[in-house]
């Protein structure tokens, strides 16, 4: 008995020591705990998981995209052949490309479902309006991912869909023709267009998306999750907030107290 206990405590030590080491120097363990074990309304439901599902879909796109980039060749002579090679010759290529291709649709659909949930639950209301705006930016950049990624297989569908998409951009008043030229990298769709779309698709927009999603999550953690509209708990809390007296605005140097005006549960 005694030996099992010592063994247990020893193995526990072996696990905890590196974690403690990490925690003491970075605070990461506490930060992760703060993120994962924060309080949410007791009546939040499966509907509230759509955001996490969207995030998961995005991470799948990120991972599969990075691996596809190892085999894809973004120039007109080789692009389609390399996609064929990924699909038919390379081990597991059909699966990873399939995940990326269908996962793109999953990501977009989940974004819209998450958006619908937030809209129908009224979760975009004060103090979460900014997060709605950030979400809309994520939607727009996500759709731009879809547009730029669609050209990359470089078959007839990809080519003509891009011709149409660029020309639709070109009909925007005043700036349209210039926008279309920037998208094409010139007056006509050429080799530069493919490389440019590839760069935008795998570097520029994912970078922007990661930043926006990070900010989105930060706001979720800071402001908390909203109750569903039928929540009895939330109804008992009474009117949303008594606006706390705000100190005079003093700018970045002396910010206003944290999370002023955010609803607090009576238990806290």
């Amino acid at each position: 008995m005694a030996t099992t206990q010592t063994k247990q405590s020893k193995s526990r030590q072996a696990v905890m020591y590196p974690l403690d080491w990490l925690e003491e120097r970075s605070g990461l363990v506490g930060g992760l705990r703060y993120f994962l074990f924060r309080k949410v309304p007791g009546d939040s439901s499966w509907w509230h998981t759509l955001g996490s599902a969207t995030l998961t879909a995005f991470l799948v796109q990120l991972v599969t995209g990075v691996i596809l980039a190892m085999y894809y060749k973004p120039d007109p002579q080789n692009a389609h052949a390399s996609v064929e090679n990924i699909t038919h010759n390379l081990w597991g290529g059909w699966l990873v490309r399939g995940m990326h291709r269908w996962g793109a649709s999953v990501f977009i659909i989940l974004m819209f479902m998450h958006m619908g949930r937030v809209f129908l639950f009224g979760a975009y209301k004060y103090p979460r309006e900014l997060n709605w705006i950030v979400g809309v930016l994520i939607l727009a950049t996500g759709l731009f991912e879809g547009l730029t990624g669609y050209l990359l297989p470089f078959d007839q569908t990809a080519y003509w869909a891009t011709v149409v998409a660029v020309n639709i951009n070109g009909t925007a008043p005043f700036v349209g023709p210039w926008l279309a030229s920037v998208l094409r990298g010139g007056a006509e769709i050429g080799p530069d267009t493919l490389a440019r779309f590839y760069s935008i698709h795998m570097l520029l927009i994912p970078g922007a998306l990661i930043g926006l999603i990070g900010f989105h999550l930060y706001l979720v953690v800071r402001l908390g999750v909203s109750s569903p509209p039928w929540s009895k708990d939330a109804a008992e809390l009474g009117p949303d907030i008594e606006p706390e007296p705000q100190p005079p605005r003093s700018g970045l140097v002396q910010p206003a107290p944290r999370a002023a005006g955010v609803r607090r549960r009576p238990s806290e």
Partner: protein
């Protein structure tokens, strides 16, 4: 004052010394000499040896004597009065403000120096050096008079097959002693899909002409119903005038030239209206616009400036 950490707990810092600099110069000389010349390497090795020896000797001879007691009357830093009066809350010293401004200003300057060229590199090539392409389509005698041909050609040999374009060409015969040719681009004026001839394409009579622009494919066609776009149903007559569907104008045309009896295509231009047909057609020419952009009427005011193309 005694250090609370005790004598042996104080950090052992070497005294400042110039010898390491000489040693580093010697090592650099040695490495450069390995590439450049043996005597530079030898010089470097000698320098490194000498300065390394001096450095090592200094480090091992122990620390310099500790500084003596402070002169009479000096007050330790943590006693006595401050040299400046304490700041009132919210007060900032001019140096503080200056340093903040300098940090932000220099940061912005460095950021601009890095960002602006990169941004220009990303955007400017889209507009500069958009040269016109002359495309040699071979002898005009390959184009039977008053017959339509579907012609595909490489517009920019440097770009290869991706620049292959399609035009519908009809040799109208002579007009006032000059050859007249109708050259209509196949790009729909709606959103740029490839329009198809409304009639049979005689695939078996296709011929290939080799020119300095690469292979030119010429196939006879009978576009009895004009030209029709498969994407959204835009319909044009044989002169490229819009008949039906979403296009906002007629089909674009190519400028052409006859050089030594060969048909040479030039720039594209947009067409506001074509009256008449064949060699008698009167074409109202306009600057090339992208598909979906009006070239006449009030809507054309939305597109006052076109990028170079």
């Amino acid at each position: 004052m005694e250090d609370p950490r005790g004598e042996d707990q104080q950090p052992q810092l070497p005294s400042p010394s110039l010898w390491p600099v000489g040693f580093a110069v010697g090592i650099v000389c040695l490495l450069v000499g390995l590439v450049v010349s043996w005597w530079v390497a030898a010089l470097g090795a000698a320098l490194a040896l000498i300065f390394g020896f001096l450095w090592a000797r200094e480090v091992t001879t122990g620390r310099e004597a500790t500084p003596g007691p402070p002169p009479d009357g000096a007050v330790p830093a943590h006693e006595g009065e401050g040299a400046m009066p304490p700041a009132t809350p919210g007060e900032r010293f001019p140096r503080n403000k200056f340093l903040e401004g300098a940090t932000l200003g220099l940061g912005a300057l460095i950021g601009a120096i890095v960002t602006l060229p990169a941004l220009g590199f990303a955007l400017m090539p889209s507009f500069l050096k958009q040269k016109a392409h002359k495309v040699d389509l071979g002898p005009l005698s390959d184009f039977e008079e008053n017959k339509w041909q579907v012609v595909t050609f490489i517009r920019d040999p440097a770009q290869g097959e991706i620049s292959r374009r399609t035009a519908f060409i009809r040799n109208n015969g002579l007009l006032n002693g000059q050859p007249s040719v109708t050259v209509i681009s196949n790009r729909c004026a709606h959103v740029g899909c490839p329009v198809q001839p409304g009639g049979p394409v005689f695939q078996k009579q296709e011929k290939t002409v080799k020119t300095r622009n690469g292979d030119v494919n010429i196939t006879p066609v009978l576009p009895a119903a004009g030209f029709i776009c498969p994407c959204h149903g835009g319909t044009y007559d044989q002169e490229g005038n819009r008949i039906a569907g979403p296009p906002v104008r007629g089909l674009d045309r190519y400028e052409f030239d006859i050089v030594d009896g060969r048909l040479v295509l030039g720039n594209l231009y947009s067409v506001a209206k074509v009256e008449g047909a064949g060699k008698a057609a009167r074409i109202e020419k306009a600057e090339l616009q992208g598909p979906g952009q009006h070239v006449d009427g009030p809507e054309s005011w939305l597109y006052p400036l076109q990028p170079p193309h």
